[in-house]
């Protein structure tokens, strides 16, 4: 029993030490990165929010992540619904090919999508990054939506049809309520990953658009600075809020395929 306790404790410390240290260093009052922080203050949080280059990067990230995850959800629903209704070779081909960008090594997809973006003049635009992120992340809401659709009992659909509900009514009154949380959860995961994604965003940014991960990466090359830690902490806080929401809505367990007895 004791070794289990210690190994879990070790895991917790290992996983959270970096986050803890980054948080500590964001509280330093001087430019020096020391841990534990000397004379803790919120100075660098003020600095972060009063520096347009940081807030601009944050806004870019949020806009790109929101638009990408909404588009990814929409595409995922189209593809998943098609696959669910027909289950044809063609629909399986669609599922496979739309998930391809997620399955090949990240750098290879980043390079190849940047070639496409440059042809269409999208290199160095937010639209280009959104395109890359939707392509990369659509696989996530696709998987969760398919899982949601597989929970629907065919007998209920038959019953709805027998009761004279039209296809549209069945869709809105039976299918959507069951599937919605799965779609949203997939979208939220996509949102978190899009906010954090660097490789694809960097290749598509063409040195003219900065998202927060790009800004953090670039600033790192010129040395440490507590605003970097502030940016990191804002990100982790954001992800925690989104994940807690997913956990509270209760779909986390079935998404992970785990039974969760109350």
């Amino acid at each position: 029993m004791l070794y289990k306790l210690f190994s879990l404790l070790g895991l917790g410390v290992f996983l959270y030490a970096p986050i803890f240290v980054v948080f500590g260093s964001s509280l330093n009052s001087s430019r020096q990165m020391v841990f534990p922080p000397s004379d803790p203050s919120m100075l660098w949080y003020q600095a972060f929010f009063s520096d347009p280059s940081w807030t601009g990067a944050l806004v870019n990230s949020v806009v790109i992540a929101c638009v990408s995850s909404i588009l990814a959800m929409a595409l995922a629903v189209l593809v998943a619904a098609e696959a669910w209704r027909r289950n044809s070779k063609f629909s399986r081909f669609l599922v496979g090919s739309i998930s391809l960008p997620f399955l090949i090594p990240g750098i290879v997809f980043a390079v190849s999508i940047s070639l496409v973006a440059s042809i269409f003049g999208l290199l160095g635009t937010e639209v280009g990054i959104i395109l890359g992120h939707v392509a990369l992340l659509v696989a996530i809401p696709l998987v969760t939506t398919q899982l949601g659709l597989s929970q629907i009992d065919t007998e209920h659909v038959d019953a709805a049809t027998l009761m004279g509900l039209s296809e549209r009514e069945t869709l809105f009154r039976l299918v959507l309520p069951i599937v919605r949380p799965y779609v949203i959860t997939g979208g939220l995961f996509a949102l978190i990953i899009s906010m954090n994604e660097y490789v694809v965003a960097f290749m598509l940014s063409g040195f003219s658009v900065e998202t927060l991960p790009i800004k953090i990466y670039n600033s790192q090359r010129y040395g440490f600075e507590p605003t970097l830690s502030v940016g990191t902490i804002i990100y982790i806080g954001f992800s925690l809020i989104v994940l807690s929401y997913i956990a509270i809505t209760g779909k986390l367990w079935s998404l992970l395929g785990m039974k969760h007895s109350e």
């Binding site: 260093s25 841990f35 954090n196 956990a247 992970l256 785990m258």
Partner: protein, 290 residues
């Protein structure tokens, strides 16, 4: 698979499939086409589509054994990372899967939250921890446990540690569902028959879980070959993985050469995954889902 048969399926749904097809064309088909056409074009210094068909890039890549060596190194490194990750993640996942509901839930949220730390943020956080001014070396020195320490990065051990750190929560989140669904009756009866815990783990738990273990290992492999930030930020240039070179040539606008390197990486990964799958995957796929 459950099928909704009663709803009219014959209606051709051009309105929904057309945008999807266009999107697939734009993000899956075109990228691969451009990857091929650029890799076989003459080295230029911009995003202009290279002119003519040329093997120049590949001649340069295979001119000496440098890039082949880097590729081999990368494959071995990523394999090592995947194995180390599984060695740490699997026993811990089994422990967590057997916890009571509340603690198991807490751990799932903790694992997912640490997943939110992206490559860039992970690399940055570990640079702080491993640096002398604000991290472990400095603390240990102030405690008198170390003398004359330097920062522990850049270097191979730092890079390996952080690559494994980055992979562990992802592997655990992937392993947790199959591990918690695992039928424990075999293990329990083996225990009752007098097998030791280690024997049960090696002879029963591992074989039952071989499919998820295999899939998780494969994902770790793909994920780590595709990233470059951790390797570049925590390793010395001699420790860099293949993807770092691709990123660097893209940065210096030698696009066709970077693309040719990316194609080499893609082909290597496809080849390795294919061979692995043929050798070991079939057994896993045919095994009964537990």
């Amino acid at each position: 698979m459950k099928q909704m048969t009663t709803i009219d399926l014959r209606k051709s749904n051009l309105l929904t499939t057309l945008p999807v097809l266009l999107f697939v064309l734009l993000t899956s088909v075109l990228p691969i086409c451009f990857l091929l056409s650029n890799a076989f074009s003459e080295s230029g210094n911009s995003f202009d589509q290279g002119s003519g068909l040329s093997l120049e890039n590949f001649r340069e890549i295979f001119y000496d054994s440098y890039y082949i060596g880097r590729m081999l190194y990368t494959v071995l490194l990523v394999f090592l990372v995947s194995v180390l990750t599984l060695l740490v993640a699997l026993p811990l996942t089994i422990i967590i899967a057997r916890l009571r509901n509340f603690w198991r839930s807490t751990w799932v949220v903790l694992l997912l939250a640490s997943l939110a730390l992206s490559e860039v943020l992970t690399a940055y956080a570990w640079q702080i921890i491993l640096s002398k001014s604000s991290g472990l070396p400095g603390w240990l020195e102030s405690l008198g446990l170390l003398t004359d320490s330097n920062s522990w990065w850049p270097g191979f051990p730092a890079m390996l540690l952080v690559l494994v750190y980055f992979s562990i929560p992802i592997a655990m989140v992937m392993l947790l569902p199959p591990v918690s669904r695992m039928d424990r009756s075999f293990a329990d009866s083996a225990r009752m028959m007098g097998f030791s815990k280690i024997e049960v783990f090696l002879k029963i738990t591992l074989p039952i879980l071989r499919k998820p273990i295999f899939q998780t290992g494969l994902l770790m492999f793909l994920l780590n070959t595709g990233g470059f930030v951790i390797s570049q930020q925590l390793g010395r240039p001699s420790d860099w993985m293949f993807s770092v070179f691709i990123a660097d040539f893209m940065r210096s606008f030698n696009v066709p050469f970077a693309v040719a390197l990316a194609l080499c990486l893609l082909l290597t990964v496809v080849f390795l995954v294919g061979v692995t799958y043929l050798l070991f995957g079939r057994q896993g796929v045919n095994s009964r889902a537990v």
